[in-house]
Symmetry: C2
Subunit: 272 residues, 2 copies
């Protein structure tokens, strides 16, 4: 892959990279369609990265289907699929990690210790292997996007980071490979995540600015659905991810909710 990237760059191509864990849905394909516009050469990586899963998380169960992914990637114009083995990405004696201080502490940080270290490390490797000028990430994983923007800036990667809006099912549920874990009952309850964000958006539109009140109404709606358990509902600064007390500026509402055994995330910017 590194040799191929060097060849592409020496031939004057701009490389666009869409890093993924595979099992593609419309959200991934939206990233690739945008990447197709941004680069002469469009590369998608497929790698279920072990270091970003905690010991009790779903690394083994995470859905995989490389053949189907390859067909879908080809259909949207991907030039190269880079699907390394874990033993290649982390060879024997591997011990180097990339960490971020503040941005790892908020939102998903406390319930997923080590997760963003794993993300930052694998993205650093991918950037050095694929050598993109442009890389695209979904806004659904908002904290991941913030971490990668900061990482690219701090480590002076000459890579433009592009966030692509969340793609949703017709009823509003944010697309996620993990949605396949949901039973029909759970699928109905999962809809409360998006609905609760809409409720907060309506609250802000009506002039409510108190973060505690907005979070309480959001949480209340989710709690009223069976199978749900809130990990967090937060209103925070969109860049630093630090909590805000009032929505005086555009603020990020981010939440993580267990629906049965499946942990789902979603977010939106609330603009007063």
């Amino acid at each position: 892959m590194q040799q191929e990237a060097t060849r592409l760059l020496q031939a004057g191509n701009t490389i666009a990279l869409v890093p993924t864990m595979g099992y593609f849905h419309e959200g991934h394909l939206a990233l690739m369609r945008e990447g197709r516009k941004q680069g002469d050469a469009l590369i998608t990586s497929i790698f279920v990265n072990p270091t970003q899963f905690g010991p009790s998380e779903d690394f083994q169960a995470y859905p995989r289907d490389l053949n189907r992914d390859a067909r879908l990637a080809e259909s949207v114009g991907v030039d190269v699929i880079f699907a390394p083995e874990a033993e290649m990405m982390y060879d024997q004696g591997h011990q180097t990690y990339v960490t971020l201080d503040a941005l790892s502490l908020y939102l998903c940080g406390p319930s997923r210790p080590g997760h963003f270290r794993g993300v930052a490390t694998v993205v650093t490797k991918l950037f050095n292997i694929v050598r993109p000028q442009v890389a695209l990430f979904g806004e659904k994983d908002y904290q991941q996007l913030a971490v990668i923007r900061r990482l690219a800036r701090d480590l002076y990667f000459d890579v433009r980071i592009i966030g692509v809006p969340t793609v949703r099912e017709a009823d509003g549920l944010a697309m996620s490979s993990r949605n396949t874990y949901l039973s029909p009952d759970e699928r109905r309850s999962a809809l409360s995540i998006h609905q609760s964000i809409q409720l907060a958006q309506e609250g802000v539109a009506k002039g409510i600015k108190d973060a505690r009140q907005l979070v309480a109404e959001t949480s209340g709606l989710i709690h009223s659905h069976p199978h749900t358990k809130i990990d967090y509902v937060t209103l925070c600064d969109p860049e630093t991810l630090e909590d805000v007390k009032r929505v005086d500026e555009p603020s990020l509402m981010a939440l993580a909710v267990w629906v049965g055994h499946t942990r789902l995330i979603d977010n939106a910017i609330l603009t007063p």
Copy 2:
């Protein structure tokens, strides 16, 4: 610098980088002379990196002389000096660090917490800014060299790391910018560091293999000189830096010694 590096690469040059903290002595110039052979474009960075100094260390006192350094660099054929300000290398909100697990734990690790994190972070930045194909580091800072070799491998930097042998004064003292801190009395005592390594080399040549005995004789010689205080004397595996009990294979003798208020390091491979 990043634009200049891109221009040099697009014109087909091989870039060789010698990262330094400045205040050049013959050791630095040896790195540059070797770099001159390895690259079409030879770049030296001069940056006293704050994140690799502990709070009680000599960051402020570290000697600096950019004008003299520029003349010396030019005299050995350096094409570009990259001397950034600290505010540029670590902008407001900087929070991304590169860490190594095992290699940071040994030798200088315990007495310099955070040091190798600082080294690994700044070298990652420098690699992304200067974009070298070759980078040269002195063998005097053996652990640093081991850390950077591992870092380059783990993060897939396409950079060849070259170690350059330690340059010594006529009497054997390893060259170091910190030697300028020594009083004439301390300068005499500092010589015991190299002499003690020679004693261990003679011991191994005579067939002594027990690490404890070799370390005891080394330490004894240093202790017999005034103003000295040993931080560590270690015999270890040259790649993993894990302690060895016997010198059955080529082993690294590494030591750090306080001479007055100055901490000096030196090392050699002992070959049975």
